[in-house]
């Protein structure tokens, strides 16, 4: 039995033998009360700094880390199927942190890239994965995906959009349609990688697998090291058997495991400070319990259903800095843009969010979430390229510089967050035959890019570092 299988079975055993707790009790009492008490104990209440959205205070980040570390040990994850708590010991956590890999490889051959731990303000270039699961029409799937990965300097790993249909049929999650979609998506993605001349690019899959069925249907088509299985946990500090299904399949295929979970400001964890604590605890628990090779968890704002507002930017900055200053855990961090393609608002949202993640010590991002992923075909390669350019270029910036820029950009869009600009569909603003944005989109890109360069964002770095 391999070490990975042994460890995941240990967690499964705990899911069937740990302390009993109902989901309702967990959500409405255990989580809020424990987090509230922990914030008070460490003097972290009301530390949210709306005037400085990107935290520059190392001591604050470290205090949050200490509290989040304690929270992880006190809480564990609740298994929603068995309603038992999967607890961990400090010895297990310390062992996981000690044995954590120094690097993680994505892809193979000339398309291989290596991810390494980053501290706040690190000059180490972070990794970009494209895209998030935005739904696209079947006939546009291959060209859009080809476009997403066209530039190796900007995008390193492929996650891919989500298919609207499978062979013209609606995909009903949790049914054989989804299982079939898993394989079909893998086939289309492979076509796209060949068209983009990047057959060895690392895959994260399956983008359309909203339950484990899609993943079970497609994961085997991306075999071996350098590919990744994604498993997102229910909110807050929970795991389900669906998570375990995916992870066991990922281990079977020899994948890296990318496990994650959301923490909501205004949700079960309470205020922004509570969401930070829950997020740190999630990052510490997932490598131990779900064998996460790297973690993909982030703070959202329940009121805005995104994370480009001031509170969420601050919360993500503190959480990322806390973990990256105190561990080597590598973290994929997402920006959930709410505006759509070819809007100034999208470019601003991505710029603030990705600059923040980069200077705070994230090692990877998966982008974009054009139009919040609400509309079919509202994704173009251009958004992914912009995100790659910003995220990679900001490596080496100081948090102070980034904070000053964020303070200038945020007022340009934050009032519109509840009603973001929808933007345009791919056919309206991108030429997929020639893989170029329309002249109007290109002009918008240059205008915003120049504006950000004038503000001090080093947007041409990406062309110098490789």
């Amino acid at each position: 039995m391999s070490v990975r299988i042994n460890k995941i079975m240990n967690s499964l055993d705990k899911a069937y033998s740990g302390p009993v707790c109902t989901v309702k009790e967990w959500d409405t009492k255990v989580i809020p009360r424990t987090i509230k008490a922990k914030l008070k104990e460490h003097g972290l209440e009301k530390t949210l700094d709306m005037e400085n959205p990107i935290n520059c205070d190392d001591e604050l980040a470290d205090r949050f880390f200490k509290a989040g570390y304690e929270l992880a040990l006190e809480m564990g994850l609740l298994c929603t199927d068995t309603e038992r708590i999967i607890k961990i010991t400090e010895q297990e956590l310390q062992e996981t942190l000690r044995e954590y890999p120094e690097e993680i490889k994505f892809g193979r051959g000339k398309d291989q890239v290596v991810m390494r731990p980053r501290r706040p303000e690190s000059t180490v270039e972070p990794i970009v994965c494209a895209s998030l699961g935005i739904v696209v029409s079947e006939e546009l799937y291959v060209p859009i995906t080809e476009g997403l990965i066209k530039y190796p300097k900007l995008v390193d790993v492929l996650h891919g959009p989500t298919l609207a249909t499978v062979y013209g049929k609606k995909i009903r999650s949790g049914t054989p349609y989804e299982t079939l979609m898993g394989r079909y998506e893998a086939e289309l993605r492979r076509q796209a990688t060949y068209r983009a001349e990047r057959p060895g690019i690392g895959h994260t899959g399956i983008a359309g697998a909203v339950t484990h069925y899609g993943h079970l249907g497609g994961a085997a088509f991306f075999p071996g090291e350098g590919n990744n299985t994604m498993s997102l946990c229910p909110v807050e500090l929970k795991a389900s058997m669906s998570n375990f299904h995916r992870i066991v399949m990922g281990i079977n295929c020899g994948h890296n495991i990318r496990a994650g979970g959301f923490s909501y400001i205004g949700g079960y964890a309470g205020p922004a400070e509570g969401a930070v604590l829950a997020n740190i605890a999630t990052d510490l628990l997932l490598p131990v319990i779900l064998q996460a090779t790297y973690v993909s968890s982030y703070v959202y704002d329940l009121q805005l259903f995104g994370n480009c507002g001031r509170k969420a930017v601050w919360a993500n900055s503190v959480s990322t800095q806390a973990v990256s200053r105190n561990t080597n855990i590598m973290r994929n961090k997402i920006v959930n843009e709410t505006a759509g393609p070819m809007t100034e608002m999208f470019l601003y949202e991505a710029a603030v969010g990705l600059m923040n993640h980069c200077v705070s010590g994230s090692t990877k991002t998966t982008q974009p979430r054009s139009a919040g992923g609400r509309y079919t075909d509202y994704l173009t390669p251009m958004e992914a390229w912009w995100c790659g350019e910003v995220f990679k270029s900001c490596a080496g910036m100081t948090r102070k510089q980034a904070n000053e820029i964020a303070k200038k950009i945020l007022p340009k869009y934050e009032e519109k967050l509840p009603t973001p600009d929808k933007g345009y569909s791919v056919k309206e603003c991108f030429d997929l035959d020639n893989m170029r944005p329309t002249p109007e989109y290109e002009a918008l890109y240059h205008r915003v890019r120049n504006e950000l360069i004038e503000l001090g964002m080093p947007l041409d770095n990406v062309y110098c570092t490789k």
Partner: protein, 230 residues
């Protein structure tokens, strides 16, 4: 004494102290305070308080859920005390759930809690709910509205399946079907023949109120509520 009791009750509701709220209502009824006065000056005030705090970001989802729970328990006592007068006290019955294949329930939980604190009798079926289970529950409790939510495009077809099932079972004219969730749009609601769409939790509550106040039969016309765009 009465004012103090009302204040204690509204605070207990807003703080999410369900047991305390129930005890205070029992105390008030035992003291002979009219049930409707307890509801109006204590219960409703508590709900207003927690809703305001949630909107301004000083109360969070757990308080909202527990306030809904308090309201459900309190209403049982009040309705019992009112006897036959009670029938008109609730806004209506809503069966709500996250459709099949979808485990993302935080948005649905907010809607569920807000509906409850706004006077609806809410039957929350949780996550990963089969279309038939929505209908069966609606039949069982005599609901007026079936509300389905999803964050996943691949679970959206199940919202349509609920309506199709109702039509095939010749039950469409019994239930208003409203839909919501991240990728759900007014166009989608119209396409599948839903009765309404709400962009967020607040809109969903306004939508349900609007539907209950309207004279239109289920399946006749779509209502889209998007206060953000107003």
């Amino acid at each position: 004494m009465k004012d103090q009791l009302f204040e204690r009750l509204s605070n207990a509701i807003a703080e999410g102290e369900v047991d305390d709220a129930v005890s205070i209502v029992k105390e008030g009824l035992d003291a002979g305070i009219p049930p409707l006065e307890i509801m109006e000056k204590g219960g409703t005030k508590g709900l207003k308080l927690v809703s305001e705090r949630f909107s301004e970001g000083t109360a969070y989802l757990p308080e909202l859920i527990l306030a809904g729970d308090s309201m459900t328990e309190i209403l049982k006592l009040v309705l019992e005390a009112l006897g036959d007068e009670a029938a008109s006290e609730r806004m209506g019955k809503v069966v709500i759930g996250q459709v099949k294949g979808d485990l993302h329930d935080i948005g649905k939980n907010v809607v569920s809690a807000l509906l409850s604190v706004n006077g609806f009798e809410v039957y929350d079926l949780g996550v990963d709910v089969d279309p038939k289970d929505f209908v069966n529950k609606a039949e069982e409790v005599g609901a007026s509205i079936i509300a389905s939510s999803t964050l996943l495009t691949t679970s959206m077809p199940y919202q349509e399946d609920i309506i199709t099932y109702l039509k095939d079972a010749k039950l469409r004219d019994k239930y208003y079907c409203v839909v919501g969730g991240g990728p759900v749009t007014p166009d989608w609601a119209e396409k599948i023949g839903a009765d309404g769409y709400g962009r967020n939790a607040t809109d969903a509550v306004e939508l349900c109120k609007k539907i209950m106040a309207s004279s239109k039969a289920p399946g006749q016309e779509i209502e889209a509520v998007d206060l953000g765009k107003a």
